[in-house]
């Protein structure tokens, strides 16, 4: 009798212990994602500093404000429909043959009136997981922001940020960045740390917007040769990039799934095994290779050297869960060099005025990253159906994401252009957005500017006044 009682007590203790361990695991996961969210704020501090430094002094405040206000609009839009898009559209659009899946439990928890969005004792992790995705959304929208500075309206950017951050990227994430996404289930599409899902799509979207937005006044000569507008504070730009890099470690970490009570404890977004150490290793090797490739390809240009680091990391993100360190290093180095050439080609040959090289660094590298997985990391079972990653699967993802990103960006900006709400008036652009929208100078009055200098296509520095006067006549003010 006593033996039975002792056994019963043991069983109860075991059950209590198992429950305790599970709860600890949940709370550990909750804390893990929470701190990735905190650290990912650095990405946005970085984007702000980076873009403000690139801007001319007369546009510095407007540039910074744009980055901050990204948070004001992408947060509610992502809450009200972005999370629902991710949870409900993984099988495809609701018109597809699997539309019955849209009534699933995961889908229901994504609607904004779900009780999973408040204090819920049976679902601790939903909201911190939501917040991690929200920070991804801010990042995606911010990728576009730097490319369109100094002539795009604040509100045009904010509307485009809502579209990119709360609809376009999260739709492609549902399709190709979830264990149940149709690209993953059917084609084994593999983009573990979002090379294409975040960066590639944002870059394609940005290119579509830039086609309608046009270059800054004075950027190109009558002959179509590109002038260079000097950043007003390159140190601020480099600091911003370093902050982005720091935040990227949290971004990478947030892309993993943690379950401390089940072997192996970590998995990628597709629920395939990986480790925190391996992805941290690849991001670090990616920076190393990227800085090196950027330095040599740009012959030591500080902007492209540091941007090369970012390009390198983006190019190895898709396979960061499985790459060997050397492969990550070499791919990042080669990719960063390609980013430099792509950036120059876009500026000089395509005559697209991308102020921060976002299309090259994020767009081209994002798509290249997806391609590299098909070439160098085929054969890894991916997603709930365990379909092997393959070149064909990667090409399928690329063929889906390119039009999704580009066409939505192009069409939305085309509509805004027709409504005359895309670009600031030329008078405002010439005087500077700060004067028109904020009035105060970013700097104290006693900090006298040496004057804006523009580099002519032949490398000659000239005072901006000359160029701006000519440009003013060209736009018939």
């Amino acid at each position: 009798m006593l033996d039975i009682l002792i056994a019963q007590v043991d069983r109860l203790q075991d059950a209590a212990s198992a429950e305790s361990v599970t709860r600890d695991s949940v709370i550990l996961g909750e804390q893990y994602y929470f701190f990735t969210v905190v650290l990912m704020w650095l990405i946005h501090a970085g984007f702000m500093s980076y873009e403000t430094g690139i801007a001319r002094r007369k546009n510095a405040l407007a540039t910074a404000m744009k980055n901050i206000l990204t948070i004001a609009v992408v947060t509610p839009t992502f809450y009200y429909f972005g999370w629902w898009i991710y949870n409900c559209n993984q099988p495809g659009l609701p018109i597809g043959p699997n539309s019955s899946d849209f009534t699933g439990v995961a889908c229901q928890s994504g609607i904004p009136w779900s009780d999973a969005f408040g204090p819920n004792l049976t679902n601790n992790i939903n909201l911190v997981f939501f917040l991690a995705f929200l920070l991804f959304s801010w990042t995606t929208a911010s990728i576009m922001s730097g490319a369109i500075i100094e002539r795009a309206r604040l509100t045009a950017y904010l509307l485009l940020a809502c579209l990119l951050g709360s609809v376009v990227w999260i739709l492609d994430a549902a399709w190709g960045w979830s264990a149940g996404g149709w690209l993953t289930l059917r084609f084994g599409f593999h983009d573990s740390i979002a090379s294409g899902v975040v960066h590639g799509v944002a870059g394609a979207f940005t290119l579509g917007v830039l086609f309608n937005l046009g270059p800054r006044i004075g950027k190109y000569t009558r002959e179509g040769l590109a002038r260079q507008f000097r950043p007003h504070n390159l140190h601020m730009t480099l600091l911003g990039l370093m902050l982005i890099f720091t935040g990227f470690y949290a971004f990478y970490a947030a892309c993993l799934v943690i379950s401390s009570t089940a072997f192996p404890g970590w998995s990628n977004i597709y629920l395939s095994p990986t480790t925190l150490g391996s992805i941290a290793m690849i991001i670090t090797m990616g920076f190393a290779g990227g800085f090196t490739g950027g330095y040599f390809a740009s012959r030591g240009d500080p902007f492209w050297t540091v941007s090369g680091g970012l390009a390198g990391v983006i190019s190895v993100s898709a396979g960061a869960d499985v790459y060997a360190p050397t492969l990550g290093y070499l791919l990042a180095m080669a990719s960063a060099a390609i980013a430099v050439y792509a950036g120059n080609w876009i500026e000089i040959k395509m005559r697209v005025d991308d102020c921060v090289g976002a299309v090259a660094v994020h767009g081209v590298m994002g798509f290249l990253g997806m391609l590299w997985v098909g070439v160098f990391a085929a054969g890894y079972p991916t997603g709930l159906n365990n379909v092997d990653s393959s070149l064909g699967g990667q090409l399928m993802g690329m063929a889906t994401f390119l039009p999704l990103g580009f066409l939505t960006g192009w069409f939305a900006s085309w509509v805004m252009k027709k409504l005359n709400i895309l670009r600031v008036p030329p008078q405002v652009e010439l005087m500077g957005l700060d004067v028109a929208e904020y009035e105060p100078d970013l700097y104290l009055p006693e900090v006298v500017s040496p004057g804006e200098t523009i580099i002519e296509p032949d490398g000659t520095p000239v005072h901006a006044e000359t160029v701006l006067l000519n440009a003013r006549n060209e736009v018939r003010l």
């Binding site: 002094r57 408040g118 819920n120 049976t122 005087m431 700097y443 804006e452 901006a464 006067l469």
Partner: protein
């Protein structure tokens, strides 16, 4: 009793004198919350067993109010910025402002 609005879902009980939380050893769920899993203001209030009831319709109203406000804010923002930009551009078109635009830090200014 709540002063104005009882926004707590029905799964939360309001029994005065119910067993208080005993946190001498560990955190223990208070008795008034024992049946309630989700308990945000105006929320449906899911329960561990049966489906929750609570202030579901009010929560839908609050949520849709938020969506409407968000859309109104975005539209108002576009109109407000448009007005400011037109004002600034009109100011620059005034006679006597033909020179290079004034730049922060004292560069540019009135035409001679």
């Amino acid at each position: 009793m709540p002063l104005l609005i009882d926004s707590a879902p029905d799964c939360i009980t309001h029994n005065e004198g119910a067993k208080p939380a005993d946190d001498s050893l560990d955190f223990i769920l208070q008795a008034n919350y024992e049946d309630c899993a989700g308990f945000g203001t105006f929320m449906p209030g899911s329960t561990y067993g049966d489906e929750g009831s609570g202030a579901e319709s009010l929560y839908m109203i609050v949520t849709w109010l938020g969506i409407v406000v968000m859309v109104v804010v975005l539209v108002a923002w576009v109109l407000y910025e448009n007005r400011r930009l037109i004002e600034a551009a009109t100011l620059r078109r005034r006679p006597g402002l033909g020179g290079p635009p004034p730049q922060p830090g004292g560069v540019g200014g009135e035409s001679p």
